[in-house]
């Protein structure tokens, strides 16, 4: 089972604008049901910790739950 942090759809655009202290980007991704997630690695990355303090009412509320990727065909 893969776990990731579920985020509200209405903050996805905001999340995409956040840049970490090393220059990295957050990459919200949709699961098989269309819900939005970011990964555990992103939540734990040192370079993004500043946003937990800056936006405690947004980032602090993310819930860790099961993530199932959309099925994609392999096309060669």
């Amino acid at each position: 089972m893969t776990q990731a942090y579920k985020i509200a759809a209405d903050i996805v655009d905001k999340i995409k604008t956040l840049r970490g202290q090393d220059g990295s980007l957050l990459a919200p991704v949709q699961d098989i049901n269309g819900d939005w997630f970011i990964s555990i690695q992103e939540m734990e990355a040192e370079e993004f910790q500043i946003y937990k303090e800056k936006y405690p009412n947004i980032v602090g509320t993310f819930v860790l739950c099961e993530y199932v990727a959309p099925k994609k065909d392999i096309i060669i």
Binding site: D22, G23, S24, P28, F37, I38, S39, Q41, I76
Partner: protein
Amino acid sequence: MPLNIIISNTISAYRKSGGGGTPYCPEALAYFAATGITDPVRQSAYNTLILSALNDGWWSDMISWNGMCNGSAGSNKYNIVNPVDSDPAHRIVFSGGWTYGTYGSTPNGINASADPFVNPSTEFANNGGFGFFIYSRTNLFSGLYGSANYSVNPGLYAQQNWAGNMYSGCYPVPDNAIIFTAANTRRLFVHSRTSSSHSSTWQDGNLLGQENTSGAVLPNQKFLWGARRASVSIDQYDTHEILMCGLTKGLSNATIANMTAAINAFAVAIGGNV
């Protein structure tokens, strides 16, 4: 002794000594300054690697060249041949979930990718030379090391591992790509197209396959490591641990041999060889 040989020997001696009283060449010092690498073992390993590239003549073939074994996004992002923190210098911008280890960086297979700001259609000549390489520390016959406009013509992909075969090169398959098999997906893979009619793929210095390709226009879309980009959206994510990777001009067989030996020696020197 002819003047050009004297000058060449002088430059080589300067690089080997580091010149200016330092043990490292200026190119290595610039990389250490950008990345903050201070460990003498790693500094020596990088210096030896960079000297090999300079003295064997493949330094100028590198467009984007990243050590992914420095332990953080902030230290991995710098292009070895141009360690400037800017998109035109081909720094890498990491997206999504990565684990940054001291022997390699691993994308999480959920949402991770890395953008070296290389658009194949503008960086390389259509129907002409281009190449890429990746040192993988993971043996896993699935996933894709990287791509630009995968499965759409024009497209480019850095090794799709699928159903027992591996695919490398320009889309469409099979006209512009090499299809091959390998015993595992570890160590250094190099793909090089030296002309509109010839491509080859190598693993650890051994030729895996070569094709009389028909060339193909390169995609007008940025290349990504660790993900499969189909048109504008990413639809597959990879999980291979990467020790080092790069995008290059077309590489000769001799260059591939030299580069393979140098990168393998680097991997051994830092203890990250597999």
